[in-house]
């Protein structure tokens, strides 16, 4: 596909020098986004990249598209306004675990609930980086940081669970440095009509280095993650011999070839299934009990807010006798003074 597109991925790079720390996972994500946009055949002028506040939210400055770096937590509200005002635009929102899930939690869930057609990339590094190292709403319980020197006493959000709980119809997960897979996830998100959430497990090299290492480290990642694909059996592991099965209402990890289990016993991933039960289970899987699910966990078609707005406007306008402001003021209770 990349061969056919008009805009090369390098053309999506702006002239601004990128100011993230060397080694930050954000560099890789920027790369993935530019590659995905090129692969999607986007034109630069039809893209609006909207962000809130945080390290990741500097993103729009590095994109040679329309961009708006807004205020903390409000990126999805601004992006919603952009999309509703001009549904022709490809609207991408860049956010982080603090921006989306702490200060912007309300906008995050309501954007998802409305199912506005924007693509949200959620950089999850489980830390506040820009303010130099405080725990975030995705930091694990007991996490030590500058504001939790004795460990946090609160439970983290699981972004996938929150998204699906807010009636999200698209949720995917990928790893910052796995550009090839990330590009595919971003393309899938872009093609999905409605709000798409892509959680990128991102490494903050300065304040929370190697936070995802247990699963992202190349030595172990094939054993500790599972790349879900729609219609494919849920198999993972270096030997491709581990799989997921249902055990009552729970998932369990099994080994093919042991205890009489064959590939036919393994669950087949249905990302398009309307029922959220299995998607929630998959999104919530945590290492070491389970492999962490990567890939498109959920992708279901549902009415899209911005499209519904347009349809309703058309339907009402077709029927109404009021075609102009002057028509409006002359309608109803009007009297003459002679």
């Amino acid at each position: 596909m990349a061969e056919n597109c008009q805009v090369k991925f390098t053309e999506f790079k702006s002239d601004q020098s990128v100011k993230w720390c060397p080694g930050c996972g954000d560099h890789a994500i920027l790369n993935s986004v530019q590659k995905a946009m090129a692969a999607l055949g986007y034109k630069k002028e039809e893209v609006a990249v909207i962000s809130g506040i945080g390290c990741s939210s500097r993103f729009p400055y590095y994109m040679e598209t329309y961009g708006f770096h807004t205020i903390h937590g409000r990126g999805s509200a601004v992006a919603s306004g952009v999309k509703v005002a001009n549904p022709e635009l490809k609207v991408w929102q860049i956010t982080g675990d603090g921006d989306a899930l702490a200060i912007g939690g309300n906008h995050f869930i309501h954007t998802i609930r409305r199912n506005i057609d924007i693509n949200v990339i959620l950089f999850n590094n489980q830390i506040y980086g820009l303010t130099k190292g405080q725990y975030s709403p995705t930091s694990k319980r007991g996490f030590i940081s500058k504001t939790s020197p004795f460990g946090t006493v609160e439970s983290p959000f699981r972004p996938g669970e929150l998204c699906i709980g807010a009636r999200g119809q698209f949720f995917a997960r990928c790893i910052d440095t796995d550009i090839k897979h990330s590009v595919v996830m971003l393309e899938e998100a872009a093609r999905h009509e409605g709000t798409s959430i892509v959680e990128v497990l991102q490494n903050c090299v300065i304040y929370n280095d190697k936070t995802h290492n247990a699963i992202t480290d190349k030595k172990h990642s094939t054993d500790r993650t599972i790349k879900l694909e729609h219609g494919q059996p849920m198999i993972f592991g270096k030997e491709k011999n581990k799989g997921l099965m249902l055990d009552g209402l729970n998932l369990k990890v099994v080994t093919i070839g042991e205890e009489g289990i064959t590939e036919d016993d393994i669950l087949v991933h249905d990302a398009h299934c309307d029922d959220i039960t299995l998607h929630l289970k998959l999104a919530d899987m945590e290492y070491p009990e389970y492999p962490v699910a990567l890939g498109v966990i959920r992708s279901v078609q549902a009415p899209v807010y911005d499209q519904c707005i347009e349809e309703q406007l058309e339907a009402v306008q077709e029927k109404s006798k009021i075609k102009s402001f002057t028509d409006l003021i002359h309608s109803g209770d009007v009297w003459d003074v002679e």
């Binding site: 601004q16 635009l89 309501h110």
Partner: protein, 615 residues
């Protein structure tokens, strides 16, 4: 129509309908005001209802009122004191007794005056008239409940529906009192209940019976005669301040050729603007009912970035929540209008009552040097004009504009002469020129100091903006110290330059006045009436009333410096007076402040001005 025994000829009359919040007083008052307007009177109305949806029945806190002021001459306020009070229960009588004009008429539903209701209303005796010192008034003790039941007994309606028609009986009686036609109200009833002939018949019957009751008891009470007013010819309709704001934006969208976007969260007393625009899909309005106040303005900012005429509506507490985002619109230099329908504060305060105490919040309630244009409407119908001009200034000057109205303007109504939209100015959209090789997002029109609008979708104008300070010459992020100071000054200068397109301050009254009365926003009607009446009593006064607050009209100082005695009247503790002192330190002002959730009364203003005149 029978011969009238006693007729009072009057230039103007104030009628207040008052009852339990479930008694339908708002509808009764609205129907009465329509009929008066169609008759040709000038009118001004104001509803006064509790913030509870259904406060305990029969209590003073549950009293809901609707006041109509109509006249043979122009009227500028809904009136202070009533000539006629319709009280559907003792609580309504008790709550309004102090607002009666000496010698006025009280129509009281005596059926409601049982022991239980009298105690609930706080009367200690069984003679509420005496207890409220209303003995010298014309009291029409009408058994409205009994008569309504009697009127409808053979219609086959259930008791609840019958009791619900009491208000139409009272309305019929009031129509008799003012010799008004029942036609418009009957038309309304027929339309409203078109699907239920029984309800139509019942309401029409009680309305007629109420009217006839007036005819029968006429020996007991005077009727009022108010001739039509001498009003400019044309087509009219009744308009409330909130609907006027919504319509001002619709007109601005048409005149600018932009799509209209509203991002808003329901809040009293601003919600009606959101409701009105939600219903205007026929005119292509995109309305986004947001999850909170912040999303209300942030979606608005997004829509503005994308090229819509974008507005958000709120009241004081909501403006507080929107503060940070207004700052974003200031630094991003995007056009948006923020409507603040002021109410009593701080915090939740008095949600259904009026106040002018958000002026300083509108001017300064943000972090950093964050100048925005501040405009205030001063009558229900000129909310249309100022919403239109707020949008025009926002778009043409690329700036957020805060439009202040208040609960009094928002819910008050006046007859509105339908404008000929061809006579209204165009709104010029400062679209960025794609052929300008030197274009960057912060390149300015040096006359206005404003930037251009480059809307996403246009190839060649891709750009990034945001809340970080930008370089004056390239629009790139800049932390340079001197550049920041320069940009701060430019943003202020841009707003100040708008004084060039704002009309000069108009002086109403005597050039050589002994007192200059100064006001702003929603107090105009009361201030003007007080000044006007004192002038006709031979005093020398003038009124300078402000609609443009930031920037101030360019002749403000010139006007103010001519007077030795200036009294700034406002419904707060003196915020505008402070603002004037800040701007013009050598101008000394007196203050007249009221913070009771109520408008000024003309009487209290006149008394105060008279005292000042004597000093």
């Amino acid at each position: 129509m029978g011969k009238r025994s006693k007729v009072i000829e009057r230039d103007e009359v104030v009628v207040r309908f008052s009852g339990d919040s479930g008694d339908g007083m708002q509808l009764t008052g609205t129907l009465f005001s329509y009929t008066s307007a169609i008759f040709g009177n000038d009118i001004s109305t104001f509803p006064d209802y509790p913030s509870e949806i259904r406060a305990p029945q029969g209590t003073i806190s549950g009293v809901s009122g609707f006041q109509v002021h109509f006249g043979h001459t122009e009227v500028y306020t809904p009136g202070d004191y009533c000539d006629v009070l319709v009280a559907m229960n003792p609580a309504a009588l008790k709550a309004n007794a102090k607002w009666m004009k000496p010698g006025g008429t009280v129509v009281l539903d005596v059926d409601s005056c049982d022991e239980k209701n009298l105690r609930k209303a706080g009367y200690e005796t069984n003679d509420p008239i005496a207890e409220s010192k209303l003995r010298d008034y014309n009291i029409v003790k009408a058994p409205i409940t009994t008569l309504t039941k009697e009127s409808l007994k053979d219609m086959g309606l259930d008791n609840k529906s019958i009791l619900r028609s009491k208000n139409m009986y009272a309305l019929g009686l009031v129509y008799w009192l003012f010799d008004r036609s029942l036609d418009h109200t009957k038309e309304y009833i027929k339309k409203k209940f078109a699907k239920n002939q029984l309800v139509v018949d019942a309401n029409v019957k009680v309305l007629d019976d109420g009217y006839n009751y007036g005819n029968i008891i006429q020996a007991l009470t005077p009727s009022y005669h108010i001739h039509p007013a001498d009003i400019k010819k044309g087509k009219y309709r009744n308009l409330s301040g909130n609907v006027a704001v919504a319509w001002g934006f619709l007109a601005a969208a048409e005149k600018s050729g932009l799509e209209l976007f509203l991002g808003s969260y329901p809040i009293t007393p601003a919600t009606e603007i959101l409701q009105e625009l939600s219903a205007r899909k026929d005119l292509g309005v995109k309305v986004f009912q947001a999850e909170d106040e912040i999303a209300g303005i942030c979606t608005t900012i997004g829509a503005s970035f994308a090229g819509n005429l974008a507005v958000t509506t709120t009241s004081g507490p909501g403006l507080a929540l929107k503060g940070e985002a207004i700052g974003l619109a200031v630094i991003a230099e995007l056009p948006i209008v923020i409507v603040n329908v002021q109410r009593g504060g701080p915090s939740t305060g008095l949600p259904t009552k009026t106040e002018q105490s958000d002026l300083m919040q509108a001017l300064y309630g943000r972090n950093g040097e964050s100048p925005a244009v501040v405009i205030a409407a001063s009558s229900p119908t000129n909310c249309f004009d100022y919403a239109f001009y707020a949008a025009k200034i926002a778009v043409e000057q690329m700036t957020p504009v805060i439009l202040l109205t208040d609960g009094f303007l928002a819910n008050g109504t006046q007859p509105w002469r339908l404008p000929n939209m061809e006579e209204w100015p165009k709104i010029e959209v400062p679209t960025a020129d794609v052929n300008d090789k030197t274009w960057h997002p912060y390149k300015r029109d040096l006359e206005k100091m404003s930037r251009s609008w480059a809307k996403p979708g246009v190839a060649g104008l891709e750009h990034r903006i945001g809340g970080l300070e930008k370089d004056e010459h390239s629009g790139a992020v800049s932390h340079d110290a001197l550049n920041h100071q320069r940009m701060v000054e430019i943003r202020e200068e841009k707003v100040q330059k708008i004084a060039n397109v704002v009309p000069e301050l108009e002086l109403l009254g005597d050039e050589d006045a002994d007192i200059l009365v100064v006001g702003w926003g929603g107090t105009f009607g009361h201030l003007f009436t007080a000044v006007d009446e004192l002038q006709s009593e031979g005093h020398k006064l003038a009124l300078a009333h402000f609609n443009y607050i930031k920037p101030l009209p360019r002749n403000t100082y010139e006007v103010l410096k001519r007077y030795n005695k200036i009294v700034v009247c406002e419904l707060n503790l003196g915020q505008f007076a402070d603002y004037l002192t800040m701007n013009f330190p050598d101008i000394q002002t007196l203050r007249f402040n009221k913070v009771q959730g109520q408008p000024f009364t003309v009487i209290e203003l006149k008394e105060h001005f008279k005292t000042l005149l004597e000093e």
